[in-house]
């Protein structure tokens, strides 16, 4: 990845992401669009084996879900999640998980109702990880009304673009669960705000 030579890339294939032309409204001095109803965030590194599972899920969802659902890939500083949380009512996050549980095991945490267990915090403090970002948003009272986190247990996090079979199968399962979540959120929104 660090050998890439186009340092200011356009946002390839990101039809539904907030900055489709690769221009961050913050940087361009533009006004941000209003609050999103649903935002899906895939966290991971597409070059680190099973760590790429959330990226895979988010790319499939991007091509499947309606445009009003924002899908974001996050592979850099996860403190960016704090910004995303401010701008959405319902947040769904997918991430790979290191766990003694068998590869492909799916965890579903309703973070708007329960705190993250401390063992979800990673050792590094030079960036703000996913669990800390969520707990920080909770402390700052910035948590969206609904935050769902899907964790998929990975097995191989080495430098490879391929996923282990169990993880690949779980990606499909999580994609279907998220589509059901989105359908429920959209239906609920329609019933509370009929056209």
């Amino acid at each position: 990845m660090h050998f890439m030579r186009n340092p200011l890339p356009q946002a390839y294939g990101r039809r539904n992401i907030r900055n489709p032309n690769g221009v961050d409204p913050d940087l361009a001095g533009q006004e941000k669009p209003g609050k999103r109803l649903v935002t899906i965030v895939g966290v991971g590194n597409e070059f680190r084996g099973d760590d790429s599972v959330a990226i895979l899920v988010s790319r499939i969802l991007r091509d499947t879900l309606p445009d009003k659902v924002e899908v974001v890939e996050l592979s850099g500083d996860q403190s960016n999640l704090l910004e995303l949380m401010k701008d959405t009512d319902n947040l769904i996050i997918v991430d790979a998980v290191c766990s003694p549980a068998p590869a492909g095991t799916i965890f579903r945490i309703n973070a708007s109702e329960e705190s993250f267990p401390s063992n979800f915090f990673t050792a590094s403090t030079h960036s703000i990880d996913l669990a800390r970002s969520i707990e920080l948003a909770r402390a700052l009272k910035q948590l969206p009304s609904s935050v769902l986190v899907y964790g998929i247990v990975g097995k191989d996090f080495s430098f490879t673009p391929s996923l282990t079979q169990q993880v690949k199968e779980s990606a499909e399962t999580v994609k279907n669960k998220i589509m059901n979540d989105v359908e429920r959120i959209l239906a609920s929104s329609l019933s509370s705000n009929p056209a």
Partner: protein
């Protein structure tokens, strides 16, 4: 009365990487201090050998997720030094601008998320945020501005990819800075507020007559250029670094420890830069320092948190100055010829001086590399500080003393991952 204690921190939190601290005391005397770095060695210097000179900036940037710009800067300067290339004008200014972004994101993360909770008695930034939401929000806004500045210039906020020997791969246009300029102006004001806020924190009463080591430039607060100087007479060109500084291995640490030949441990980082370069601060940063009475010499290492805030004001001011005067150069990089020989680079990472030295062969391949990160250099000083601090504070309850020892280590914002290219805490009383 024969009393002995063991202060032990098995896993030091709010530092980057893996380390522990063990302090053994007996009869009000510190018997042993071990600042153990058990993060495995990473062998960067070894696997740089045989790689092309041009790969060094991107490979070494991978040493650290928070100061990759420093690694890129020290490595490109070393290569340019080897090839006789001098990057000047707007290209040099853009490199300083990139460094501004890194200082903002690194300093702000440390001030608000890692160190402030110590001073105010909170377990972490999440607990701090419940009682000080405005301060933490301010920190998050500042950090995002730093992140976005790095991403704008170098493609992404972590592991930037736009720096090359001779300049950059791609240059920003003037219009690219429109949004970030206004945000930097707000960030400058919030950084000033950060100086005032950190100055109100309760500081342990502790001072030491340090030898401060930093770069010093004829006219600039140092980022990427200058002579290596100290407050005790050191004044050398960076190519003389290895004549004056020595690295040694101690059995309990995977990071080499640095000492100055014939002298004691030394301190590098924000406190050293502030004490040695106060007269080079930008106007508003100097004004902020004067307002909170941070006039050199500042000898209390706990006050490094204020210095980081002052340097954040500086970085915002400097960034604004560079952007307002920016005219895109004709070419993103200078032409040069590869030639064999040694190249030396030393720049000011957020945590202190970062030295690189390379030997380049006739074929442009790296024959030998030496990288000395700031945390490795500060290890001895951290151990010295702990010895002096524990000796002066034997009266404290064990739990309080242990917490303050952790806080003391965080004065240095140590980056263990960099140092091993390197914390847990244990205090034993026997």
């Amino acid at each position: 009365m024969n009393s002995s204690r063991i202060l032990k921190v098995d896993y030091l939190s709010r530092v980057e990487g893996e380390g522990t601290l063990l302090i053994k005391t007996k009869n009000s005397h510190v018997e042993d201090i071990k600042f153990k770095i058990f993060e495995p060695p990473r062998f960067f210097e070894a696997f740089l050998r045989g790689r092309k000179y041009s790969e060094a900036p991107d490979i070494t940037a991978r040493i650290c997720g928070i100061c990759p710009v420093a690694y890129q800067m020290s490595s490109v300067h070393a290569m340019e030094n080897a090839f006789g290339v001098k990057v000047e004008g707007q290209l040099r200014e853009l490199r300083r601008l990139l460094y501004c972004g890194e200082w903002i994101e690194s300093h702000v993360l440390h001030v608000y998320m890692l160190h402030a909770p110590d001073f105010l008695g909170y377990e972490d930034a999440i607990q701090l945020a419940k009682d000080f939401p405005d301060a933490v929000q301010r920190g998050l806004r500042l950090k995002k501005t730093g992140n976005d500045l790095v991403a704008l210039l170098a493609g992404r906020e972590i592991h930037p990819i736009n720096v090359k020997v001779g300049g950059f791969y791609k240059l920003p246009q003037k219009k690219d800075f429109t949004g970030i300029l206004e945000r930097l102006k707000k960030a400058r004001d919030e950084a000033y507020e950060t100086v005032r806020w950190t100055a109100t924190l309760p500081f342990p009463d502790f001072e030491y007559d340090y030898e401060f080591v930093a770069l010093r430039h004829p006219s600039e607060y140092p980022f990427n250029e200058g002579r290596l100087v100290s407050n005790k007479g050191l004044d050398i060109d960076i190519h003389e670094y290895e004549l004056m500084f020595h690295e040694s291995h101690v059995p309990y640490s995977n990071a080499l420890q640095s000492t100055m030949k014939g002298r004691m441990a030394y301190l590098t980082g924000p406190l050293a830069r502030h004490n040695l370069n106060f007269d080079r601060l930008s106007p508003l940063a100097a004004e902020a320092a004067r307002e909170v009475k941070m006039i050199p010499p500042v000898l209390n290492p706990f006050k490094s948190i204020i210095v980081r805030a002052i340097e954040t004001v500086f970085a915002c001011e400097e960034a604004i100055r560079i952007i307002e005067n920016y005219e895109p150069p004709e070419n993103p990089a200078l032409n040069y010829s590869v030639r064999p020989g040694f190249g030396f680079g030393c720049t000011e990472a957020p945590r202190g001086i970062l030295y690189h030295r390379y030997l380049i062969g006739d074929d442009g391949l790296i024959k030998d590399a030496k990288i000395v990160p700031p945390t490795a250099q500060n290890q001895r000083m951290i151990e010295s500080d702990l010895r002096n601090f524990v000796t002066a504070n034997f009266g404290l309850a064990k739990q309080d003393l242990t917490l303050q020892c952790e806080q003391l280590i965080r004065n240095y914002d140590p980056c263990i991952s960099c140092a091993t290219h390197f914390l847990k805490l244990t205090v034993e009383e026997t």
